[in-house]
Symmetry: C2
Subunit: 346 residues, 2 copies
DNA sequence: GGATTTCTTGCATTCGAATGCATATTGTGC
DNA sequence: GCACAATATGCATTCGAATGCAAGAAATCC
């Protein structure tokens, strides 16, 4: 077999231009180039023009890595999300990246398969010296302590830790749960059931607890609670469990999120022959897209994602600008979205 | 008003330890420390122990920024996604980040609101000297040329460019579309309609074109095509349009994605009183979660997301390791997922 | 016009880890 | 125990931009 000539790489892949290249071409010093790319720096108009012309000519872009090293500011934030498959999070993530983009910050994304991955994931984050972190995942108090020890600002999204000072942006779970319970009660429901989230989900527990308390204040007790995991399948399973209860199914089911509500609704109708809202009322929480689909038309609490992500970003940025400022919890009220999945009176 | 004492920042936020700190504590040189954190380097066992002990003691972690600067390897890849609200992408994104994580690579996420944002977004990416890019968004040939000029590996996910050499991982759209058409035809459907994706979506066009060609080969012509935008609402709208057609609605509707199929299905049933599959057969494409929900039970083509993301990651990594290797297009066959939304015979 | 202030600019150093080269140490063979 | 090889280590430099300091240029004032 004859030897073949190995063709050279198609392009020489000229390494990126540096400020020295630009400086050389423009006949000025490297520091001058650097200053031209920093606004507020002391540069004469003439200098700026010359440098910018040279920079454009060679296609120079400042190296963010080198800049980060000296300024100790990476302009990177990490976003931690526990399960992206939860229909609610993609919207949050899209909003977050858009808003961070707008303030010149790049997003490093980390998804956690299991909550236990948090420690490992944090180890991956530290070396990159991110300026801050948004966590839509469960972190332990120890984790939080590590953030403050390192001086890395942290903002929780729809979670927080009891008894630990943290920044957090939340939807008012209690208020939402009460609204839902009240509306169902006012429309005549008396036999309630709750499909809760997993016990390690703070918002899930809050929604459940608030609903139970509100029911109790209305004189309704011994409400059955089924634990789900926020998935469609667990909504379906919950419906089956509720159908098998002594005394028959409830007439109102409060679910800890929309997807379980949808699962339950589907199961009650398809598997068990019930009609909603005639035979059973079902409500959810979040206001995800599919909740508005004609087959479901769910009564739910729509979280104000825009305003919440807005708050999360500005909260994080302000802590980045002024390290050590006091922690803050910002709570937003969700909006009742009334559909035909429940007999409801607000 | 009296002046108040400004309390000092709660913690002094000791700046992160450096390799020099470790070296000093261990009584060795900085280079020794550096070598201990690089496997394959020539370090004695005794040295490694001493250094690791000192490192653990002060809580040292290598600074990835500094490392990137000297090695010219950021271990960062950018993932571009056009619309995260498309139900199909969150799963892709989660898989991608998990797989990149596994090979020690971090993901910078960029979401594009409008396709026109691509140029701007690329400008945000270059300064970070990412090692590579995965694009699930439309890029122009000029954009692609810029990648190769810069020597930055690029892998398209479910898109490509005609006549331009690019790396790409795709689901076999034609094959899937043919499968769907054949099954519908075999079950007796003769009056077809197509709900297509937007014209600037390559996969959408492929699915449509392949379906039309297959229909033609079966002797079915003049098939009405409605253009949608992949949203639920556009599926609903398409159903309305089809209902208003001369000669009544079709008996089989091939939709370019699941969400439009779901929208159409909902609309046909709820708004127009048709039953599926008795009166009308509807099929989708993607195999997203909601396609399997009881209310829909869609017949669709499930894209092998696991294998596709796997391929995308390894394709990108191999081009990072060996710059300039030849471009490759890897096509995966989707799997027919048969549901009750259509009369179907495979 | 000369003195003084205000801008501009360049020089030299810094950020923190990696690495080629030279030197020191250890190990091997006889 | 000696010569030589193999391995370990340190020194000095590098990556690319930012910045304190000092010197030079321009603007201001009287």
């Amino acid at each position: 077999m004859g030897t073949r000539f190995q063709p050279k790489a198609a392009t020489p892949h000229a390494r990126p231009m540096t400020s020295y290249d630009v400086a050389h071409l423009a006949g000025v010093s490297q520091s001058a180039v650097s200053r031209c790319f920093k606004d507020g720096a002391s540069v004469s108009k003439k200098m700026r023009e010359r440098v910018m012309k040279a920079a454009a000519e060679v296609g120079y872009e400042p190296n963010a890595i080198a800049r980060s090293l000296i300024t100790r500011r990476s302009n990177l934030v990490a976003v931690l999300i526990s399960n992206l498959t939860n229909l609610y999070y993609p919207e949050v993530l899209a909003e977050l990246t858009a808003r961070f983009s707008a303030v010149g910050v790049r997003v490093l994304l980390f998804t956690l398969q299991r909550e236990a991955d948090a420690s490992n994931t944090l180890q991956l984050i530290w070396p990159y010296r991110v300026d801050g972190v948004i966590a839509a995942a469960e972190l332990s108090p120890d984790h939080v302590a590590e953030f403050s020890r390192r001086g890395v600002p942290l903002v929780f999204y729809n979670r927080y830790l009891n008894g630990v000072a943290v920044n957090s942006v939340c939807c008012d779970q209690e208020d939402g749960a009460r609204l839902l319970v009240d509306g169902l009660y006012a429309a005549g429901s008396r036999r309630f059931a709750i499909v809760a989230g997993p016990v390690d989900s703070i918002v899930g527990v809050e929604r459940k607890t608030a609903a139970l308390e509100q029911l109790e204040s209305l004189g309704i007790e011994d409400v059955p609670v089924i634990e789900g995991d926020y998935s469609y399948a667990s909504g379906v399973a919950a419906a089956a469990t509720l159908m098998a209860m002594d005394g028959g199914p409830p007439d109102a089911v409060v679910c800890a999120n929309d997807v379980m509500a949808i699962g339950a609704l589907d199961a009650f109708r398809t598997d068990h022959g019930l009609r909603a809202p005639e035979d059973i009322s079902i409500v959810g929480f979040d206001g995800v897209g599919p909740a508005s689909w004609r087959s479901y038309d769910l009564t739910t609490i729509r979280q104000p994602v825009r305003r919440m992500t807005d708050a999360a970003v500005s909260l994080l940025m302000s802590h980045i600008e002024e390290p050590g400022s006091a922690c803050e919890k910002r709570v937003f009220t969700g909006q009742l979205q009334s559909g035909s999945s429940a007999r409801f009176k607000s």
